[in-house]
């Protein structure tokens, strides 16, 4: 009960910069939690819908019309493909296969849920996150982690693409 409750708290993260500001900010926030009880790594990515829309169009030369009535049927597939390339986890020196679960719209932000099964003790945890860095040179990707009861936050950018956590 208590444990579950903590996880929910961690899922909701920073408010993202929104578009009404003076200048456009390019930012995404990704929460990565290891839940040993469920033998699962849970990944929740929050990305501005319009930015991701542009990113998908740029990458796959296709108008996806994300989160609109016109959203194309293969949107989920493209997002999955995109995120699998953009978020990579290497745990205990082995690349991990991520499984895209679903997406959700919250205001102008798309929340994407991914997971990976994992049951061993984690000693090293490397995170690559290059969401939209190919589109926007000042894209900032904030990553919060909760692994082995250690909470950490890192800022990844175009030039700083990965971080290695050691336990």
């Amino acid at each position: 009960m208590k444990n579950k409750y903590k996880i929910v708290l961690l899922l909701t993260v920073f408010t993202l910069m929104t578009s009404f500001a003076i200048h456009k900010f390019y930012v995404s926030v990704t929460q990565i939690d290891y839940v040993p009880k469920k033998q699962r790594i849970e990944i929740t990515s929050r990305i501005f819908i319009d930015d991701l829309d542009k990113g998908l169009k740029n990458k796959y030369s296709k108008n996806v019309y994300l989160a609109t009535k016109k959203e194309i049927p293969e949107a989920d597939k493209l997002i999955q493909q995109y995120l699998e390339e953009k978020i990579r986890l290497v745990v205990n020196n082995k690349p991990l296969k991520l499984q895209y679960i679903s997406k959700e719209v919250e205001d102008d932000v798309l929340i994407c849920y991914l997971k990976a099964s994992y049951s061993e003790k984690i000693t090293t945890f490397e995170i690559f996150n290059t969401i939209l860095t190919e589109m926007f040179s000042d894209q900032k990707n904030i990553v919060h982690t909760d692994i082995n009861s250690n909470k950490k936050s890192v800022l990844l950018t175009y030039s700083e693409r990965s971080t290695l956590l050691e336990f």
């Binding site: 009960m1 929910v8 920073f14 408010t15 009404f20 019309y65 679960i101 904030i142 936050s153 030039s159």
Partner: protein, 756 residues
């Protein structure tokens, strides 16, 4: 009187004896040290500037308040082909301060884009392991855009060159003799610079290049501008690094702008030669627009704009503008522009709402832009003062959202097929309302943006929120409602700075300087002060500081001074710290009435020293967790079953009074816990078994003696099924799971998803 003194001194001795005794018993327990006043409600003498003759303790301009003035006469030419701006200006600077000035500081903002700019040098770099050829070339091979000012001359009134020193984005003019109080000085500067493509090189000013080869210019910070000299900063000459915006002096402007003859233009100020630059047909439409209040009138049509966009005139045309009492000047010009306008009826004035946009912005802009400008002027005027300028212009400029006096750049265009999503539509409306709103803060209520981004952005975002809801009650507002700021406020403290931080040193700029202050004002208005008190105080601030330079203290003090609501605790927590709100229901005890005392209560009289009075009989309140709790008493209280109370009522109340007596049946003692540092009122909703609810509000001051827990008793006539704190999510409580009794089970999002 005497007795009680004696009693209390005895008590003091008794207490000190006990503490001595305790010390002997547990030697390791040390006497606690004293402390300063750390009470959350202490007044803000320790942080706020001391009031003085310039700025009073009431938050108003004082009897010695002064501000400088700078008038500009400028001739500007924009060379579209070569992307250059040429200018010369004559500045008349009035020293209204009580001090003599040995030098003047002038802002050269474009130097932020100079080759020797230090802005790129203060960001961290790291080798990127993989680069596209384009990025590699840009990063390691190109020498970069040179957009700095090229100063050709600086001359005094008689035409003699003046001595000056440039320090990055600031230029010091060394005066031959100090400028005495009350005197003015005149100087001229000639300059030019390369105009940037803002979509490539960034910036709030520059041009957008269209596939048809045309450019749309949005030109700002284009002239050497006087820095502010004031009683709080002296010269505000903090460098322009690129983020912290501007601090500017009011003055009158006369500006002549020369552009290709086929351009359409809007700029700060009143157009002096409209007949020379408009066709006679356009003049007729303009006159019609000045008397049209219900919908925009097209003055330059889409067909006219599309026709103009096909040419490129070699001839030139000069547009002449005059503006009074403005702090800055902005220009937008292109041959692609269409233009529409309508008049807006305010209480005392009828300013024009105007939009200027390329055909690419339609159908969206023709439908909404000018209407949004009009709504903004109406709502903001209601909350501050009638819009004092003759017009407000919204310019369509992709990837922009930036404000200048009477004119602003706004993004949001439909797709090439003319369709647009709600996100684009509301994004565009939000940015137009926001940027037009900036006319009030900081263009008129002229705070120092270089120092405090929140003073204009926060106040403006708050009024933007109110305007959006008046424009469209289903407007998807993203900043204002308390719940929207929660994810920011509960984030990692390493990435959160207090609102009262300098503009350059803020993490999460948008949430810090826009969202959080706007939400704070919304909480004050909705929950702490109420509309009437808040609106009056907010309006008082706006009117006091209209066409003046306020500081944060002036705002905080006025809000209290005009409302009689002590808000020091609120400013301290919400603006000066990163404290967050987290109030929880810690424990709820249900009490039942009994006429039988428990063992403990039998000695009640003795323990409390009530030897000689209050002999009872008593009604005893016992909670279920008590070992002596008698299950037989676990039932709704009925006065008629307790003879002593029944007799008391019969004896002491008239029939009329009896009819008004409440008949409580259930008794609850609720303990609240304040887990967050931020003080807030406690908003309690009791939900009864029959589904009805009852709301109780305990003011913030409930925390003044005990900053961690508080208790309240509720006597109700219906059984409480649920207690919910902050049921309408008004207080930005970061953890709502602990706001409920009895505790509800919470499910992980991933567990939910797994089931699907």
């Amino acid at each position: 009187m005497k007795k009680s003194i004696l009693f209390s001194s005895l008590l003091a001795i008794a207490i000190s004896f006990t503490s001595v005794a305790q010390e002997v018993k547990t030697e390791e327990k040390k006497r606690e040290q004293g402390h300063y006043n750390e009470n959350k409600f202490r007044q803000m003498y320790d942080i706020m500037a001391t009031p003085n003759m310039f700025r009073t303790a009431s938050g108003a301009p004082g009897p010695a308040y002064y501000q400088q003035k700078a008038d500009y006469k400028m001739d500007i030419e924009i060379d579209e082909k070569n992307q250059k701006l040429y200018g010369n200006e004559t500045v008349t600077y009035y020293n209204n301060s009580p001090e003599a000035l040995e030098y003047l500081w002038v802002q050269l903002d474009q130097n932020m884009r100079a080759q020797n700019s230090k802005t790129p040098l203060v960001s961290n770099q790291r080798i990127a392991p993989a680069l596209t050829p384009e990025k590699f070339a840009k990063e390691f091979m190109e020498s970069g855009f040179d957009g700095g000012f090229n100063i050709e001359y600086l001359k005094d009134k008689s035409g003699k060159p003046m001595s000056y020193t440039v320090n990055q984005t600031m230029m010091r003019i060394n005066l031959a003799t100090p400028l005495k109080p009350g005197d003015k000085t005149v100087f001229s500067i000639k300059w030019w610079y390369n105009i940037n493509n803002y979509q490539i090189d960034g910036g709030r000013s520059g041009f957008e290049l269209f596939p048809d080869g045309n450019k749309l210019f949005v030109i700002a910070q284009f002239f050497p501008r006087m820095a502010v000299y004031s009683d709080v900063e002296g010269w505000q000459n903090m460098q322009f690094w690129g983020r912290g915006e501007f601090a500017l002096t009011f003055g009158d402007y006369e500006v002549n702008i020369t552009v290709p003859a086929d351009h359409m233009m809007e700029a700060t100020g009143e157009l002096q030669n409209r007949k020379e630059v408009y066709t006679s047909e356009q003049m007729k439409r303009w006159n019609l627009a000045q008397n049209t209040f219900d919908k925009p009138v097209l003055i330059v049509t889409q067909a006219e704009a599309e026709a103009a966009a096909k040419g490129f005139s070699d001839k030139k045309k000069t547009w002449k503008y005059k503006a009074e009492n403005v702090r800055d000047f902005g220009i937008s010009t292109s041959r692609k522009f269409m233009l529409d306008a309508m008049a807006v009826q305010l209480k005392t004035v009828k300013p024009m709402a105007i939009s200027i946009y390329p055909p690419e912005a339609n159908p969206l802009w023709g439908e909404y832009s000018t209407r949004a400008v009009a709504q903004t002027l109406k709502t903001y005027s209601k909350h501050t003062f009638d819009y004092p300028y003759p017009k407000a212009v919204s310019v369509s400029a992709e990837d922009q959202g930036m404000e200048y006096p009477m004119i602003c750049w706004n993004y949001g265009r439909p797709d090439t097929d003319g369709t647009y999503t709600d996100r684009i539509k509301y994004g565009m409306l939000g940015v137009i309302i926001h940027e037009v709103g900036h006319n009030y803060f900081p263009m008129i209520v002229n705070s120092d943006e270089r120092q405090w981004t929140w003073m204009d952005e926060g106040l403006n975002t708050f009024l933007e929120y109110l305007t959006e809801l008046e424009f469209d009650k289903n407007f998807p507002t993203d900043r204002g409602p308390a719940a929207k700021i929660v994810s920011y406020m509960k984030g990692n403290q390493n990435y959160i700075a207090p609102i009262m931080s300098n503009s350059e040193n803020i993490f999460q700029f948008g949430s810090n300087a826009y969202g959080k202050p706007a939400t704070g004002l919304n909480i004050l208005r909705e929950t702490i002060m109420g509309h009437e008190l808040f609106d009056h105080a907010f309006k008082t601030y706006a009117q006091r500081w209209k066409f003046k330079h306020p500081t944060p203290e002036d705002f905080f003090r006025t809000m209290e001074d005009a409302s009689a609501v002590d808000l020091d605790w609120f400013w301290r927590g919400w603006f000066y710290s990163t404290d967050y709100v987290d109030i929880a229901v810690k424990e709820v005890k249900e009490y039942y009435v009994s006429t039988e005392p428990t063992e403990k209560l039998k000695n009640y009289k003795v323990r409390t020293g009530r030897f000689t009075y209050d002999n009872g009989p008593f009604l005893y309140l016992v909670d279920e967790s008590n070992v002596e709790f008698n299950p037989a008493t676990k039932k709704a209280f009925n006065m008629n079953e307790v003879q002593m109370l029944e007799e008391y009522v019969a004896k002491n109340y008239t029939a009329e009074e009896k009819a008004k007596l409440k008949a409580p049946k259930f008794f609850y003692e609720v303990e609240f816990e304040k887990l967050g540092g931020m003080i807030m009122p406690i908003l309690v909703e009791l939900q009864f078994e029959d589904g009805s609810t009852e709301n109780h509000e305990f003011p913030a001051q409930i925390w003044r003696m005990n900053n961690s827990t508080s208790k309240r008793v509720f006597a109700t006539d219906k059984k409480v099924a649920k207690i919910q704190l902050d049921s309408k999510l008004e207080t930005a409580d970061i953890d709502v799971e602990n706001n409920v009794w009895p505790k509800a089970e919470v499910k992980s999002k991933f567990d939910e998803l797994e089931k699907i």
